[in-house]
């Protein structure tokens, strides 16, 4: 419980920074921090495998991808970053605050939240692997096809339009 009490405000502060900060690179780095704290949360909840996968995939790949794209799409050295108060803040708050209210209402009405399960609930890696490839095998195959399609699609998107792959003919 105590690690949860320490982690929750940190995660929320980092997420708030990711949502609110004006400079894009700061927001992206705060997203990386949020994801890393999330991974630590999973480790605290004894989901070891998922926590380490979160580190590897989200912090190591997705966050890096986002900061890389921010570098490529920089507005240029002389342009300033986007202004602090977004124009549609009122609309945004009007749409998201009701969602928050409904979710918190459901959480407060949740009666079984009282039992803290005593066992550590840690799962061995063999169990995880066996369950993944027997019970959830069709899902694994579907995700494999999806990821291959995504890789090919992203590579096609990223090509320079109108040119074949460049071969350096001379230095």
């Amino acid at each position: 419980m105590i690690p949860l009490l320490i982690l929750t405000p940190l995660i929320l502060l980092a997420a708030l920074g990711a949502v609110w900060k004006a400079r894009p690179v700061h927001a992206a780095l705060l997203l990386a921090l949020t994801l890393a704290l999330n991974a630590i949360l999973y480790l605290v909840l004894s989901a070891d495998f998922i926590g380490l996968i979160q580190f590897m995939v989200y912090v190591g790949a997705v966050a890096v991808l986002i900061v890389f794209s921010l570098l490529i799409t920089r507005p240029g050295d002389e342009a300033e970053e986007i202004a602090r108060r977004p124009r549609s803040l009122v609309t945004g708050l009007a749409c998201s605050l009701p969602v928050l209210a409904v979710m918190l209402f459901i959480v407060s009405r949740f009666e079984n939240a009282g039992q803290a399960v005593a066992d550590a609930r840690s799962v061995s890696i063999e169990q995880l692997g066996t369950t993944l490839f027997t019970t959830h095998a069709p899902a694994v195959m579907a995700v494999g096809v999806l990821l291959t399609a995504v890789m090919i699609g992203a590579a096609l998107f990223a090509r320079e339009p109108g040119k074949k792959t460049q071969t350096p003919s001379d230095s």
């Binding site: 991974a39 495998f49 966050a63 890696i125």
Partner: protein, 408 residues
């Protein structure tokens, strides 16, 4: 805890295998003797074990900086540092004093907090990664069940910190160096993980001490059962070797920090102690990934011949580490730097297909009995695509004849 309550338990037996654990055993025995509570003995033991590992590898880093300069010098037909002590042995001390007493310059356009955090965030993952490698039969700092996954997870932290170092410096060369470094690290991390995946598949475990245990024993009486001496292991081991050079940003893959190209890449705007931290992080990362390669493919702390078990296992590990690091230095002295497009092409068009092929090769090797038949079946599966890839790769990218245009 009072000195009047001193009653020491008998000092535990220290075998040669457990010799590096001597500081930890000593501290725990002393504290328990003085009547310290359980948790204090435990925490003190952990701290001393961590300090041992960090101390050994920091000392190794200092020694390596000297050995590297001497080796490169000899390869280039000169002598290398020999002024700062007998054969230059005090050169690392001189370098350390120089780094520590230099002025710490931070550019005016730099982001102060990120600029400060970046070197720390590069050293921390390397030290964390050193904690899960089994150095000896009884010397493993943290025996994790998911050790290999932990290693790759902390490796992923390095990428974000290189970006922070490059971007927070606020100038063009670091930015360019950081972009190149990130693209290189991401591209070469894939074959690294796929090769490690082959080892995990055959060993059936993610825990590094268990992977080393499974490589015990000898074929035909004298060939060690290391993963390198299997058909898929040979290919996967070589790919892992090349990828670890790329991951550690060493020549021929040191484009992110090539001195003749972009000054020092993401480390350009750093001086003094922060630069020393970058340097240390890079070399500790090199130790970590070489240690992982030795654990996965070269049998970790296993002895190479049947009769040599009397030598303690950690000596074998460090001997293999020295051999691998020496080969890295040799390669640095020999090869020119690759260009960024050659680098990307090599990773995506040559290494990833070969790495992916090692997976079915490992599976076939396992299911055909791991004997002579497995070799016969698996070697063509790996050799023919390799020949096709290298022939195609070489034909398409061979440089055409240069035409020189001179001003008339």
């Amino acid at each position: 805890m009072s000195l009047l309550a001193v009653q020491f338990a008998p000092f535990p037996q220290i075998t040669r295998e457990a010799l590096p654990l001597l500081p930890k055993t000593l501290v725990e025995w002393l504290l328990a003797g003085f009547g310290a509570p359980e948790w204090l003995v435990l925490i003190a033991g952990f701290l001393v074990a961590a300090a041992t590992v960090v101390g050994v590898f920091a000392g190794g880093f200092a020694l390596l900086s000297l050995v590297e300069r001497k080796t490169l010098a000899r390869a280039q037909n000169r002598i290398g540092p020999n002024r700062a002590g007998w054969f230059g042995i005090l050169q690392p001390v001189a370098d350390g004093i120089k780094m520590l007493t230099k002025e710490d310059i931070v550019p005016a356009k730099a982001e102060k907090l990120l600029h400060l955090l970046a070197p720390i965030m590069i050293v921390v993952p390397s030290i964390l990664a050193l904690g899960v490698i089994p150095y000896g039969r009884e010397w493993i700092p943290v025996p994790l069940e998911l050790g290999l996954l932990f290693f790759f997870a902390v490796g992923a932290m390095t990428e974000v910190s290189i970006f922070m170092a490059g971007w927070a410096s606020g100038s063009k060369f670091p930015m360019l160096g950081a972009m190149r470094a990130i693209s290189q690290m991401v591209s070469y991390e894939l074959p690294l993980m796929i090769c490690a995946l082959g080892v995990v598949m055959v060993s059936g475990t993610l825990s590094l001490p268990d992977i080393v245990d499974k490589q015990g024993g000898f074929h035909l009486g004298f060939i060690p059962a290391w993963n390198l001496f299997t058909p898929w292991g040979l290919v996967a081991g070589l790919l892992f070797y090349v990828c670890s050079i790329a991951e550690a940003n060493r020549c021929p893959f040191d484009l992110p920090e090539g001195e003749s190209e972009i000054v020092a890449g993401h480390m350009t705007e750093y001086s003094g102690f922060k630069y020393a931290l970058f340097f240390m992080g890079e070399y500790l990362g090199l130790f970590a990934i070489s240690g992982l390669g030795i654990t996965l493919f070269l049998g970790g702390w296993q002895a190479p011949l049947p009769g040599l078990d009397f030598v303690p296992s950690w000596i074998w590990f460090f001997a293999k580490l020295c051999a691998v690091i020496f080969s890295f230095l040799w390669i640095r002295a020999t090869f020119p730097r690759v260009r960024i497009d050659q680098l990307m092409r090599f990773a995506w068009l040559c290494m990833i297909p070969m790495a992916l092929l090692t997976l079915p090769a490992a599976a076939i090797w396992h299911f055909t009995g791991r004997g002579f038949l497995s070799w016969v079946v698996t070697v063509p599966l790996l050799l023919i695509p390799w020949v096709i890839i290298t022939v195609i790769y070489n034909k398409r990218l061979a440089p055409t004849l240069r035409t020189y245009h001179f001003a008339e």
